[in-house]
C-alpha cells in the first residue's frame, strides 16, 4: 500500500529565503504523526503544503502515489487543515461549523452534525447560536476545530490545536482525535508546542529545525554562541556558573543537540567524560521510550535524561534531589544551520 | 482702480455661435467695459437677473422679457438685433412642407404625424414653436407619440431630429453650425424659411438697481447704448459664421 501522503524534494521559499527543504517524507494512512520544532522551523508551512492549501516552490506532493496540486478535484475535499490562525466567518458558530458541510452540497440536517462536533471539542450546544465575535480565545480555537471535525475528513492536519485551550479541553481534543482515527479512519498530522500532549498522542513525531527534518529528537538543544578556552576546548557557561563542553562546532553560533541517552546518571566522571550537577524537577513516563525520563534543572536550563531502571535506588531521583549527570562531549551532535 | 467687470446673463445661442466672444473685445475697446457672461437657458438667464446676480441681460423671448420689465426686475428693454427661425427636416420631406408657409407646414406635419422634435425647454425657440402650434393648429400636440420633446439645447435637438428623421424649428445660427459640423452635407435641410412669423428678436435689458443695489446700471446702460448705436449695430452686421451673416441689426425701430 502506498503512503497516504508523500513529499519529494519539497522546498519552499518566502521572498527568496528557503524556509522548508524536505527530501522525502511519507505519512501512512491511519497514523497520528506529531510535528515538533521551534518557532519558525517551518511546521505551519509544511502543514499548508501537505494539506494542499499552498503550493510548494519546488517539489512534488503525492497522494497515494499520485502527484497532486492545490484544488485537486479528488483530494481537495478529503484533506482538511486547521490553520494556526483559523479565520471564523463573520457568522454564527452554527454557520461556521456547518459551512464545510454546506459547500459539500449536503442538504439541511446540519443540526445533529454541528451538535456532535461541538460536543467533541467540549463546548456546550448553546454555543451554536453565538456570533463569531462573542467567543473567548480558547472557545474560538475549539469552534474552528469543530468545523474540521464535522467534515469527518480522511486526513486532518492540525496546526497548534491546543494553543490557548485549557487543559481539560486539551484532553477532550485528544479524545476527539483518537475517535476520528478509530471511527472514521482519519489520518492525522499535528503540530504543537505542547510536547507532553503530543508525545502522549502520536505514533511518531517528526522534528523540524530550520526547515529540515531532524534524525534525532529535539530534547536538549543548546544554542550558541560557543567560546573557546586556552586549551582550545569549546564550551558555554550556564546561568549557574557550570560549564558545558562540546566538540568543535561547525560555526560558533551553531546549536548543539544532546540526546537524552547521552546524559548518564552515573555520578562519577570517568576517562574523558564531563559532569553537570542539577536538581531533579520531575520524572515522566513517555510511551515512546521504554524507560522513564527525568528532568534536571541546571541553572536556567532544563535537561532531559533517560533513567535506566537499574539506576533507581530508593527516592534518590525524586523531585528536589540533587543529582550529577555525566556525558562524553564527542557524543554531542550539531544541528545544521 | 480697475473697473469691476459687467456681468451679463445671456442665452446659449449668443455664446455658442461665438457672437459674444467676437463682441467682447470691441466693447472693451469702445467703452472700457470688461464684459463677463453666463450663458444658460432664457429662463435661467431671467432668473439670474431677478436674483441680482447679473447686471444686464441679452435674451430673445419678448413676452417673458416684457413681463420681467413689468414686474420691476428690469429697465429699459431695447431690441437691437434679430435672426430668423427656419423649419428643417429630412431631405425626403415625408410631410411635403418644402417651400410652404409656416402655418401650412405645421398643419402638414400634424396631419402626416411625421416626427417633430421640440426643444421642450422653455427657451425662446421653444416659446416661438409653441406659439406657432397654437396659432396654426389650435393646440400643442403635447402627448402625441410623434411629437418628441427633447428638453435640450438647439444643437442637441437638431441632432435628435437628424437621428430620428424628424422636423424641427431652429434658429439659423445653430443650423449653420450644424451644417458645418457635418461637413456641409447634413441629413436635415432647410424646408421653410423667410416667413415674417419666423423672426427671432434679441433685446438687451438692464437690471433694476432699485431692487438690486449692487447692479451696475450705468455700465449696463453704456453697453446697451453701444449695442443700439452705430458702432454696435455695424459690428453685429459684420459678424459671420462660416461666411454667412447670422444676426441682423434692427435697433433703428426702437
Amino acid at each position: 500500500m502506498w503512503p497516504l501522503l508523500r513529499l519529494r524534494n519539497v522546498r519552499h521559499n518566502y521572498n527568496g529565503r528557503t524556509v522548508l527543504d524536505i527530501a522525502e517524507l511519507s505519512v501512512s494512512a491511519g497514523t497520528i504523526t506529531g510535528l515538533a520544532g521551534p518557532n519558525g522551523s517551518g511546521k505551519s508551512t509544511l502543514l499548508k503544503i501537505l494539506s494542499l492549501a499552498a503550493r510548494c516552490t519546488s517539489g512534488t506532493v503525492y497522494l497515494r502515489n499520485r502527484p497532486v496540486l492545490p484544488f485537486d478535484p479528488e483530494a481537495h475535499r478529503r484533506i482538511s487543515l486547521l490553520p494556526q490562525e483559523a479565520y471564523l466567518l463573520r457568522r454564527t458558530v452554527f454557520d461556521n461549523i456547518s459551512y464545510g458541510l454546506k459547500i459539500r452540497g449536503q442538504k439541511n440536517q446540519f443540526r445533529d452534525s454541528v451538535a456532535a462536533a461541538l460536543e467533541l471539542v467540549g463546548l456546550d450546544p448553546s454555543f451554536a447560536g453565538r456570533f463569531w465575535n462573542q467567543l473567548s480565545g480558547g472557545e474560538a480555537q475549539r469552534v474552528a476545530l469543530a468545523a474540521r471535525l464535522a467534515l469527518k475528513p480522511d486526513c486532518l492536519l492540525l496546526d497548534e490545536p491546543t494553543a490557548s485551550v485549557d487543559m481539560e479541553s486539551a484532553r477532550c481534543i485528544r479524545r476527539a482525535i483518537l475517535l476520528a482515527r478509530r471511527e472514521w479512519g482519519t489520518t492525522l498530522i499535528i503540530a504543537s508546542h505542547n510536547q507532553s500532549w503530543l508525545d502522549d498522542l502520536c505514533d511518531t513525531i517528526i522534528y523540524l529545525y530550520n526547515g529540515r527534518i531532524l534524525e534525532c529528537s529535539l530534547e536538549n538543544v543548546l544554542l550558541g554562541p560557543w567560546l573557546q578556552n586556552n586549551r582550545r576546548e569549546f564550551y558555554k557557561e550556564l546561568a549557574d556558573g557550570q560549564f558545558i563542553h562540546v566538540p568543535p562546532p561547525p560555526h560558533p553560533d551553531s546549536s548543539a543537540v544532546i540526546a537524552s541517552a547521552v546524559l548518564k546518571l552515573s555520578g562519577a566522571p570517568s576517562g574523558s567524560s564531563r559532569t553537570l550537577t542539577g536538581t531533579v524537577s520531575g520524572i515522566f513516563f513517555d510511551k515512546h521510550f521504554t524507560e522513564p525520563r527525568i528532568h534536571i534543572v541546571c541553572g536556567d536550563h532544563r535537561f532531559v535524561a533517560c533513567v535506566p531502571d537499574m539506576n533507581l535506588n530508593g527516592g534518590d531521583l525524586l523531585p528536589g534531589r540533587t543529582v550529577t549527570l555525566s556525558y562524553q562531549p564527542e557524543d554531542i551532535s550539531w544541528l545544521e544551520k | 482702480a480697475q473697473q469691476k467687470p459687467l456681468m451679463m446673463a445671456t442665452t446659449t445661442s449668443t455664446d455658442n455661435t461665438g457672437l459674444l466672444e467676437y463682441l467682447a473685445p470691441l466693447v472693451k475697446q469702445a467703452t472700457g467695459i470688461d464684459l463677463k457672461w453666463v450663458a444658460t437657458g432664457t429662463g435661467q438667464a431671467l432668473k439670474l437677473g431677478e436674483n441680482c446676480d447679473a447686471d444686464v441681460l441679452m435674451v430673445h423671448a419678448p413676452a417673458a422679457e416684457k413681463a420681467f420689465v413689468e414686474a420691476g426686475f428690469g429697465l429699459n428693454r431695447r431690441e437691437f438685433m434679430y435672426n430668423d427661425f427656419i423649419i428643417i427636416g429630412p431631405e425626403g420631406d415625408p410631410a411635403a412642407i418644402k417651400g410652404k408657409d409656416t402655418c401650412t407646414a405645421f398643419k402638414a406635419i400634424l396631419d402626416s404625424k411625421a416626427v417633430f422634435v421640440s426643444r421642450g425647454d422653455d427657451s425662446g425657440t421653444h416659446k416661438m414653436e409653441l406659439a406657432l402650434w397654437k396659432q396654426c393648429a389650435e393646440a400643442v400636440p403635447d402627448k402625441e407619440s410623434w411629437y418628441r420633446q427633447a428638453g435640450q439645447e438647439m444643437l442637441a435637438t437638431i441632432n435628435i431630429a437628424g437621428e430620428q428623421n424628424g422636423y424641427t424649428l431652429t434658429d439659423r445660427g445653430t443650423y449653420i453650425t450644424y451644417e458645418a459640423n457635418l461637413g456641409g452635407n447634413p441629413p436635415l435641410k432647410i424646408l421653410v424659411e423667410g416667413d415674417r412669423k419666423l423672426l427671432n428678436q434679441y433685446s438687451v435689458i438692464e437690471v433694476n438697481p432699485e431692487r438690486c443695489p449692487k447692479a451696475q446700471q450705468e455700465l449696463a446702460r453704456k453697453l446697451g447704448d453701444w449695442l443700439v448705436g452705430k458702432e454696435g449695430q455695424d459690428a453685429v452686421a459684420a459678424f459671420e459664421l462660416m461666411n454667412k451673416q447670422l444676426f441682423f441689426p434692427n435697433a433703428a425701430k426702437n
Partner: protein, 229 residues
C-alpha cells in the same frame, strides 16, 4: 432662498399627487439604473474580486488605470457611446440611441470602475487567513469567491451604493445618449437640468428631493444587509 422652501413643498405635491411627468421620469430613472447596476455588479464584482485577490505582474498598473477611469466624465462617456450607437455609428442598426437601454450602456461604463475599484479594496482588506481557511474547509474557487464576497459584504455593499449613487445622479450620459425626450428618456436628473435651465429652480429642487427619496429607499433597504458584520 425662497425657492428651496417652495421646492420642498413642491416635492410633496409632485410625489403625493402623482404628477405623471414626474412619475414618468422616476420610472425612466429606475429602469435605466436597474439595468446598468445589474450589469455593472455582475461584471464588476468578479473583476474587482480578481483584482483584489490575485497577485500578478502589472497589478499595480491595472489598479492605477481603474482608479483613473473613476474620473471618466459623463459627457465623455456619452459622446463615446453616442459615437457607437448613433445611426452613423457601427452599432447604429440596433436602434439604441435615445432609448433607456442606450443610457444603461453608458451608465454601466460609468459604474464599472467604481464597482471594480471599491470591490478590489474591500477584498484586499479581508483577513489574510480567510483564503487558507476556506481552502482547508474544501471550498472550490467559485465558493471561495462567493464566501469572500459575503465576508467583504460591508465593502461591497458600499461599492454598490456608491456606484448606484453615481448612476442615479449622472446627467451627461442620459442627456447625450437618451436625449432627454419627454415621456421616453427624460430621467429625473435631465429633468432637473431642464427645469434649472428654464429658471424653474423650485421644480429643480423638488425633483432633486424626489431623487433623494429614491436613493433613501435604496440605501434603507440595503442597510438590512449590513446587520452583524
Amino acid at each position: 432662498m425662497d425657492f428651496i422652501l417652495e421646492g420642498i413643498a413642491k416635492a410633496f405635491v409632485l410625489l403625493l399627487q402623482g404628477d405623471p411627468e414626474t412619475y414618468s421620469a422616476v420610472w425612466a430613472t429606475v429602469q435605466a439604473a436597474s439595468m446598468s447596476m445589474t450589469a455593472s455588479l455582475l461584471v464588476g464584482i468578479p473583476l474587482g474580486y480578481l483584482l483584489g485577490y490575485l497577485n500578478f505582474p502589472g497589478k499595480k498598473g491595472v489598479r492605477t488605470v481603474v482608479d483613473t477611469l473613476l474620473s471618466l466624465p459623463t459627457v465623455f462617456i456619452g459622446l463615446i457611446v453616442y459615437a457607437f450607437i448613433s445611426n452613423r455609428g457601427p452599432l447604429g442598426e440596433f436602434g439604441l440611441l435615445f432609448t433607456l437601454t442606450g443610457i444603461a450602456i453608458g451608465q454601466t461604463i460609468l459604474a464599472l470602475p467604481v464597482v471594480i475599484a471599491l470591490t478590489a479594496t474591500a477584498v484586499e482588506s479581508l483577513d489574510r487567513s480567510l483564503r487558507p481557511t476556506l481552502i482547508s474547509l474544501g471550498a472550490t474557487r467559485m465558493q471561495i469567491f462567493l464566501t469572500s464576497v459575503r465576508e467583504a459584504r460591508l465593502g461591497i455593499l458600499i461599492a454598490a451604493i456608491t456606484a448606484s449613487a453615481r448612476v442615479l445622479t449622472e446627467v451627461g450620459i442620459s442627456m447625450m445618449v437618451g436625449g432627454n425626450i419627454k415621456w421616453h428618456t427624460r430621467t429625473i436628473t435631465t429633468a432637473i437640468a431642464l427645469e434649472t435651465n428654464k429658471g424653474e429652480f423650485a421644480t429643480g429642487i423638488a425633483l432633486g428631493l424626489v431623487l433623494l427619496a429614491i436613493a433613501f429607499v435604496i440605501s434603507f433597504s440595503l442597510s438590512f444587509l449590513r446587520r452583524r458584520a
